[in-house]
């Protein structure tokens, strides 16, 4: 039998889902189309019976759906034995504890704390200063010492040592310093010297320390 173009509106009409104009068009239609009217009456009866007696009619389907849900849960549960589930739960809990403790730390301090041993007794926490020159043996007495800058408002204290004893010390806000002539004159060839730079904040707090680097003057000035 040829399908009527209003066929698909029957359910929507019965469920009050049609807009006013569409609804009135459909109503006028079923006053003129016996087939649609009969189909609609049958459909309404069917809907009412399903609505009122559905629990009894579809008891099997409902049971099957419940069974499917239970089977799904059972399938997940049977994936591991109870003992394995317990281990898994404990492992997950441990991983969570570790993550919860480590992640904030990682966020707050992206780099691990830096420790620098000043000598056998003294150790400080802070950044390191890279010394640029001199860092190896040099032919003549160096006239300039240079290191990597740390930032603004930093005061550097440079110390030159001979035989582990302070030989000369000075401060500057630059990352370089020239040796005064009298100091240069005091420095001798074939001797080993070492130097170190410490950085301080404007409040005098030690921020960073460079390693002590040794250099040797191979010939005289």
């Amino acid at each position: 039998m040829k399908k009527c173009k209003f066929d698909d509106l029957i359910d929507s009409y019965l469920l009050n889902k049609l807009e006013r104009e569409e609804r009135e068009n459909f109503e006028e239609h079923y006053f003129n189309c016996q087939r649609c009217f009969e189909k609609m009456v049958g459909r309404e009866e069917l809907m009412n019976v399903v609505k009122n007696k559905g629990q009894m009619i579809f008891a099997d389907e409902e049971r099957q759906e419940e069974k499917k849900e239970v089977l799904f849960i059972e399938k997940i549960l049977s994936f591991l034995t109870p003992r394995q589930w317990a281990y898994a739960a404990v492992s997950v809990a441990l991983v969570l504890i570790v993550l919860l403790n480590v992640v904030p730390l990682l966020k707050k301090t992206p780099q691990p704390p830096f420790f620098l041993d000043l000598d056998k007794e003294e150790r400080i926490r802070g950044e390191s200063i890279s010394l640029i020159s001199p860092v190896i043996d040099i032919k003549t007495v160096p006239s300039q010492f240079m290191w990597a800058p740390l930032g603004n408002d930093v005061e550097y204290k440079i110390s030159i040592y001979f035989n582990h004893q302070p030989f000369w010390t000075n401060t500057t806000k630059e990352n370089t310093i020239s040796l005064p002539e009298d100091v240069k004159n005091r420095m001798e060839a074939s001797r080993k010297y070492s130097w170190q730079v410490k950085a301080f904040s404007p409040q005098g707090i030690l921020l960073a320390v460079s390693p002590k680097v040794q250099f040797k003057i191979t010939s005289c000035k």
Partner: protein, 163 residues
Amino acid sequence: MKEKLDLDEIIVKYRPILSFRIRKYLGHQNPDWEDVVNEIITNVIEKIKKREFRGESSIGTFIYTISSRRIVDYIRQKSKTLKHFPEPKTFPAPEQEFENKERAEKLAEAIKKLKPKYRKVLHLYYYKGLSRNEVAEKLGISTRRVSERVDYAQKLLRKLIKK
């Protein structure tokens, strides 16, 4: 005689259609629907007798238009009445109620006898209230096929309850 025969035919044919529409608007449990339907039929007959129906539209559309006016009047009148009186209690005719109940039982039994593929569609579409698209997706069929299965299930049920 010809006019009388036509009027009888009209009444027989359009009373159920009118009743359906009026009950939908007034509410299925509203006892007024029968009076409203009778009023409309009387009105239709009068108009036909007075030759107010000139055949410019179909008789179906003519009755539909009269019923629309009556529905509007009823709702207007009812909203005035309700200001002073409570809603009348419903009282479906006992024999009608029994007949409907028996038919519903038969239909429920017939649905239980349907093949699972039809039952599944009815279960999801009418009982669970899923949309046609959702039913189609759940059963892995097209929406057109969902409508076809509902239609076919209805045909089968009609046959089953006639037995």
